[in-house]
């Protein structure tokens, strides 16, 4: 049908559909990515322009409010510490510049490791079947019923001080189960599909079938699963840190909240001490959620609406 004999409203609708045809230009996805990039940017730009020595205890005056507020002692916020300082004399802005990317790093690393384990185990279970499948499936099912925080609390108290990487590794031990199950189910159904049979007929090796024929079709699921496990990992990490476990000497958002609670920031009305890290965590989760919703719409066109 020719373009010229469409009415104006139809042309507008066609334009909307065209925009909608490129799935990656998805407002939810773009907003989500934007929020996460903002947090990373705070870390990167902050390191360039801010004095990071202010993160040490006693480097600044105590309990100063953010710029434009007053604390209980009627002290106004000062430009040297725009987000205020905590009860230990640390500058909030530098805490965030170092802490926020750290929290995100733990989440990303943990779920990257978890996903890799999940892809490996899921493919093995789905593709090899038999005894291997039984062991992996039962293992994953058992692990999924164990509350991770419980085990991690015991582990971390036993380890004492841990590094960020160590903590990510520990958390990774609890985020591989659901990708394993997801990939196993997908592989099982894909194994029966026509194109996998065709590849077998073409004399393809198992390696080729797994990584060249099946894996590309799994990418949307892997992305979705990855984002979901980043969220889980961050929640777990922050949970541990707020309990006072996790790295003792490295600033993270969770650790800052722990110290704020410990020092009685709630009754002293030092809201910026726990409020700012909480706000940043909120932004992070909303960003991840939006990316997940966006990816869902990208890979599942039926969720996209026309209006």
């Amino acid at each position: 049908m020719a373009v010229q004999d469409m009415t104006r409203a139809e042309r507008r609708q066609a334009r909307r559909i065209r925009r909608f045809d490129n799935p990656w230009i998805n407002p939810k996805l773009l907003w989500g990515v934007g929020l996460l990039i903002t947090i990373i940017a705070i870390g990167v730009i902050g390191r360039l322009i801010w004095n990071l020595d202010l993160v040490f205890t006693g480097s600044s005056p105590l309990k100063l409010p953010p710029l434009g507020f007053e604390n209980l002692r009627k002290q106004p916020g000062v430009l040297d510490h725009p987000l205020g300082t905590d009860g230990g004399g640390r500058d909030m802005l530098s805490l965030i510049i170092i802490g926020a990317p750290n929290t995100l790093f733990v989440g990303l690393l943990a779920s990257l490791i978890g996903m890799s384990i999940g892809i490996f185990l899921g493919f093995s279970a789905g593709f090899l079947g038999g005894r291997t499948d039984d062991v992996i499936r039962v293992g994953a099912d058992v692990m999924i019923t164990i509350p991770p925080l419980l085990i991690l609390v015991v582990f971390q108290s036993a380890f004492g001080d841990v590094t960020l990487t160590m903590m990510a590794l520990l958390i990774a031990g609890f985020v591989w189960q659901s990708p394993t199950r997801l990939i196993r189910a997908q592989v099982l159904s894909m194994k029966q599909s026509g194109y996998v049979q065709m590849a077998q007929l073409s004399g393809a090796s198992t390696f080729h079938i797994m990584f060249r024929e099946m894996l590309p079709n799994l990418v949307p699921y892997l992305f979705g699963s990855f984002i979901a496990s980043v969220t889980t990992s961050i929640v777990t990490a922050v949970g541990l840190e707020v309990l006072g476990l996790g790295p003792q000497r490295i600033p993270t958002l969770g650790r800052t909240i722990y110290e704020a609670i410990n020092a009685g920031a709630l009754i002293q009305n030092l809201w910026w001490w726990w409020g700012i890290p909480t706000l940043l965590l909120g932004v992070m989760f909303i960003g991840l959620l939006l990316i997940n919703l966006g990816l869902d719409e990208v890979s599942n066109p039926r969720l996209r609406k026309l209006s």
């Binding site: 049908m1 066609a14 559909i17 026509g194 194109y195 065709m198 004399g203 590309p216 079709n217 026309l306």
Partner: protein, 579 residues
């Protein structure tokens, strides 16, 4: 309703339906005008995408967003359908227009017994009534479609496909609608059940005297079922008339195509065997493929009873394996390809056990035994362009000399099956039609020039008008390129034309085998006779679903089970051991 007999139940006037898409507005149905009179059966025939189902959905205002009726009129026995609001159309559905869907297995609620599902319709239209009254009406409806009353107490999974489809018919007619719309009601059923379901539908329609709109693509089925035929192509009504007019003197070339695309047993062949190629030179004196007492069990069920045969493969031959779903024919195919180990016995390819091959032997076996599967939509990896499916095996088997050579081989193969290589090779699978994809799979087999091709229902999911040409592509593989073919199918008419030898399978047993002219042309075993009787012929002289209630496939099948296998003449190069 106050219709007089000459007043049509459904009138479509200049009906145009549009779907806005990113490429502009697509007209799915263009200025369609048609009447359906009381008590008449009208068939809508056409390829997928010709607008048959869209028209039917528009009659019930069930068009999927963003589709819309652009202009035209739909008049149901004096009511203007398009002016009804949501509540009024809800009242109209089922009570005045009933819809019998394509896949009955997906249309019933799996967690509800059949009876309450039938009551839902009555309650929604007439309000709550006494349970015994509801029960009486659902029993009556079930009986009228030939189901026992206790079927109402069952869950959908306890019913067979044909029974489920009849339950759907019973639900549709429970409120005595003026118009029944049946959208390919038998496309998921095999021929024997199809005949039974269509008989039921015709019977019930005659009893309640409503109009019937039957949507389908099978000319034979239409010829045996409807009074009038409407031929649709790309949303346009190209021909409309009584079945007799259309079958005997089709005017539009597309209608002629549709009629001639249905192969007839004994009719003129749609193939032109010109050249007789020799089989490729073999450096083995062992037979190409042999089954030694092969049996396959799935748990307690024996899908294939012990069977032995030898295919010499010195002259190219087409061996057909014919049977209904569940007869074990596809199991045979996957055993031959080595995808499925036999429970007992051995499958030998040139003297080598298919299950015990070394890596090198296995690659050689894969090169020489190729397959064409039923579903052309699943055979291409959606991630790659379609040439991946042709290029990859060519390289894998060491046939490619250079990228240039691969490209030339692909283009030649495409041309040999009647595809334009520039148009198809650089596309993604979803951009091609089912017919194009199936041809590409045939082209792929051609490029690899195997010694044996296993074609498992290669045309059952392709539009009827394309079946003949794809089959002749496959036939050419034997004729021009000397490839032996095992053709697995449920379609006796095509098997009659293409094959050199036919085996009829029934519940994992060979019941009749021999040259096609004898087995299908003059069947002796009761099961083969049953299969042939169930085929709907596009021929008005052969009566099929004439409403006789004495035709009972269950009884005939029991009889068939008792009868001994019939072995007819021999064909050199293929030996089937008599069980």
């Amino acid at each position: 309703m106050t219709d007089t007999p000459d007043k049509p139940v459904l009138t479509l006037r200049d009906l145009t339906i549009e779907f806005p898409t990113s490429q502009g507005v697509v007209r799915a149905v263009k200025a369609l005008s048609l009447d359906i009179h009381k008590g008449r059966r009208v068939g809508f025939i056409g390829e997928s995408g010709s607008g048959k189902t869209t028209t039917a959905l528009a009659v019930m205002q069930l068009l999927a967003e963003p589709g819309r009726v652009a202009h035209g009129q739909i008049d149901l026995g004096g009511t203007d359908i398009l002016s009804l609001d949501e509540e009024e159309i809800r009242q109209t559905r089922l009570s005045r227009v009933a819809y019998i869907p394509q896949g009955a297995m997906n249309s019933l609620n799996p967690v509800m017994r059949v009876e309450p599902q039938m009551w839902d319709g009555i309650i929604a239209h007439e309000g709550h009534s006494d349970r015994s009254e509801l029960k009486r009406r659902s029993d009556e409806a079930l009986q009228s479609v030939g189901l026992p009353i206790h079927a109402g107490q069952l869950y959908p999974h306890e019913l067979s496909g044909g029974m489920k489809q009849r339950v759907c018919i019973a639900m549709g007619i429970i409120l005595n609608p003026e118009l029944i719309i049946a959208d390919e009601p038998t496309s998921a059923l095999d021929v024997v059940t199809q005949r039974q379901v269509m008989q039921t539908l015709k019977d019930i329609q005659r009893q309640i005297g409503s109009g019937l709109m039957l949507i389908g693509h099978d000319m034979g089925l239409m010829a045996q079922t409807v009074d009038e035929l409407a031929v649709l192509k790309d949303g346009e009504l190209v021909e409309h008339g009584t079945v007799r007019q259309i079958l005997e003197a089709p005017k539009h070339p597309y209608t002629k195509d549709l009629i001639s695309s249905v192969p007839l047993v004994g009719g003129e062949s749609f193939l032109n065997p010109d050249a007789r190629a020799d089989a490729p030179k073999r450096n083995s004196s062992e037979p190409l493929l042999s089954f030694e007492n092969v049996r396959k069990d799935y748990g307690m069920v024996t899908a294939l009873h012990p069977m032995s045969f030898t295919l010499q493969g010195d002259t190219p031959q087409i061996i057909s394996i014919v049977g209904q779903s569940g007869s074990g024919k596809s199991t045979m195919g996957s055993i031959m390809l080595g995808f499925n180990p036999p429970s007992q016995g051995r499958v030998l390819f040139e003297g080598q056990d298919v299950q015990k091959m070394s890596a090198v032997q296995s690659l050689d076996f894969r090169r020489n035994v190729q397959a064409v599967f039923q579903d052309p939509y699943a055979c291409f990896n959606p991630f790659y362009r379609v040439d991946h499916a042709l290029k990859f095996p060519f390289r894998q088997f060491g046939l490619a000399q250079s990228p240039e050579h691969t490209r030339r081989a692909m283009e030649e193969a495409c041309q040999a099956v009647g595809l334009d290589p520039d148009l198809v090779l650089s596309r993604y699978p979803h951009q091609l039609s089912g017919g194009q994809r199936q041809r590409l799979i045939v082209a792929r087999a051609l490029m690899l020039s195997p010694k044996l091709l296993i074609a498992d229902e290669p045309v059952s999911m392709v539009d009827a008008s394309l079946r003949a040409s794809i089959l002749s592509n496959i036939y050419d593989l034997k004729d021009k390129y000397g490839i032996s073919i095992l053709y697995i199918t449920h379609d006796l008419a095509t098997a009659y034309h293409v094959s050199d030898f036919v085996m009829v399978l029934f519940k994992g047993h060979v019941v009749e085998a021999g040259p096609p002219k004898e087995v299908i042309g003059a069947p002796q075993h009761p099961y083969t006779q049953l299969l042939i009787d169930s085929i709907p012929w596009p021929d008005l002289k052969r009566s099929w679903g004439d409403g006789r209630q004495d035709w009972d496939p269950v009884e005939l099948e029991t009889e068939a089970q008792r009868a001994a296998a019939v072995y007819r003449g021999e064909v050199s190069g293929f030996d089937l051991a008599q069980a």
